[in-house]
């Protein structure tokens, strides 16, 4: 692992990134790379900019400064159809699920397939059923999003993100609002996904248990210093930062909510 692997193109590379809304900087001086096949957890106190960072990486917003490379291609400088294609190649789930309210759950999952693949109706139905089964919603395909619980919406959103089988996935707090068992199931699902498809997975999460179970790496963001403060294996970070808030956060001691 320590041998420098120059020929591998990182799945995500962030260079000197500054992000925010208007002139308000939320995070700055961000530098990190995510290698193909890694599961990376982004952590930090509520409101420190985790969702904001994710939305910038997936190309929804333009950063104030710096550049973001997805598989070596700049997201910031991409435009038009190229940018659309780049965005489409990522699987993304949102904090609330973001299902389309006027479509049933199955149609939601089918939507990207109908838009961007040449699959026949039967093939699409099969794929939808497969993805719904993956998140444990195989019986709810005909339900409307309004008829699902919050956690179910999230899982349906996950199924939709997986529909096109992207190799780069971004989950915004996938387990918040799920009971501990489903949340453990989700961790297993993420590990399975990586196992089967070798996908790179970036997860924003508050769940310490899942960070230690699934995370190859944890990135810690600090609200006060407005930047990345720690980057490494979760278990090693605890030792390395023992005594500081990063260590506290990870070992759940004291006032970790910074």
């Amino acid at each position: 692992m320590d041998v420098p692997q120059k020929n591998i193109i990182p799945a995500v590379e962030v260079r000197d990134l500054a992000i925010g809304y208007g002139d308000r900087i939320v995070l700055e001086k961000l530098n990190f790379t995510i290698d193909p096949g890694e599961v990376v957890c982004i952590m930090g106190g509520s409101g420190c900019g985790k969702s904001t960072l994710l939305k910038h990486i997936i190309g929804l917003y333009q950063p104030l400064k710096g550049d973001i490379f997805i598989r070596g291609e700049s997201m910031v400088n991409a435009a038009g159809e190229r940018k659309k294609a780049l965005m489409r190649s990522l699987g993304v789930t949102y904090q609330g699920g973001a299902l389309f309210g006027w479509m049933s759950v199955a149609e939601n999952v089918e939507f990207p397939l109908r838009e961007y693949t040449e699959l026949t109706a039967a093939e699409r139905r099969e794929r939808v059923q497969e993805k719904l089964a993956l998140v444990g919603l195989e019986k709810f395909g005909s339900f409307m999003p309004a008829e699902l619980s919050g956690g179910m919406c999230k899982r349906a959103g996950l199924a939709r993100a997986l529909a096109l089988e992207p190799d780069l996935l971004f989950f915004d707090e996938p387990s918040a609002g799920l009971d501990p068992l489903s949340s453990a199931g989700l961790d297993k699902l993420i590990l399975d996904l990586r196992e089967r498809t070798g996908a790179t997975i970036v997860v924003v999460t508050h769940e310490l248990d899942s960070v230690f179970t699934i995370g190859d790496r944890a990135l810690m963001l600090d609200r006060e210093r407005r930047t990345l403060v720690a980057d490494g294996k979760p278990a090693e970070l605890i030792k390395e930062y023992a005594g500081s808030w990063v260590g506290d956060f990870l070992s759940r001691n004291g006032t970790a909510n910074r």
Binding site: G59, M87, L90, V92, A98, L99, E115
Partner: protein, 253 residues
């Protein structure tokens, strides 16, 4: 003042996005019949009863007012012209536009605003879809087709309302009223009205969708967006009515 300018700028950008998405209509995959029929039913078919009722009543009211004036000068039969032309050229399309503003314009703003709150707009964009094309074009097509059709129905109902008054109050024979109607009304008046209602349809849809897209992304924003859509639509409808009436008077519509 600065705010108005920046809003105009935003609106122009929005228009550009919609215009840029128009080619989508000519691609099989992005031709969205399902959404089209959904909105055509919502804004067109479901508004039919209320349009007919209100236009009929408007014809009656106009008939009574007209009858009073016409009787003064003894030119009762001209009431037919008065009703016919004002309904065809102005009141029919305007009535339909007002109903559509309340029913469709505000609903569009609320719908898109809610999608924004739920991050559905972001999800659409990350799936590489163009929200402007995906959400605006089906509504636009549905409205542009259904409002003129509604206007035709409203026109008929309005003329019928006027006829009821003419026949009962002024005692004009039904046949005479009908003959006079067919005689004086021309295709140009009808076309003018229909063109107007198509333009209203475009304005109401654009205003509604624009207010949805620019709503503030929380629950209050959705309500404010819907209100703003109604005000903006009515404003645009009245302005465009004035402009079109002026233009049409030159070409004799």
């Amino acid at each position: 003042m600065k705010k108005i300018f920046s809003q105009c700028g935003e609106f122009m950008i929005f228009l550009g996005a919609v215009a840029g998405a128009v080619p989508e209509l000519f691609r099989r995959r992005t031709r969205r019949w399902r959404e089209f029929f959904y909105y055509a039913e919502l804004c067109g078919f479901q508004s039919l009863p209320i349009v007919i009722m209100l236009c009929f009543l408007m014809g009656v009211v106009l008939g009574i007012q007209g009858a009073i004036q016409m009787r003064k000068v003894g030119t009762e039969i001209f009431m037919v012209d008065l009703i016919g032309f004002s309904v065809l050229k102005e009141l029919g399309p305007l009535m339909v536009a007002i109903i559509a503003t309340g029913r469709a314009g505000s609903a569009f703003a609320a719908e898109i605003g809610t999608m924004k709150v739920n991050e559905e707009l972001s999800a659409l964009r990350t799936m590489g879809s163009d929200p402007a094309g995906f959400l605006v074009l089906p509504k636009l097509c549905a409205m542009v087709i259904s409002l003129p059709l509604l206007s035709v129905c409203g026109d008929a109902a309005g003329i019928l309302g006027g006829m009821c008054v003419g026949v009962s109050v002024l005692e004009i024979p039904v046949a005479a009223y009908w003959l006079r109607t067919v005689d004086v009304l021309n295709i140009a008046a009808l076309t003018g009205g229909l063109v107007k209602s198509a333009v209203y349809a475009i304005l109401i849809t654009l205003a509604g969708c624009y207010c949805g897209f620019t709503s503030s992304g929380d629950a209050q924003g959705v309500g404010r967006g819907a209100t703003r859509a109604v005000v903006m639509s009515i404003f645009l409808v009245v302005i465009s009515d004035a402009v079109m009436t002026l233009l049409f008077s030159f070409i004799g519509w």
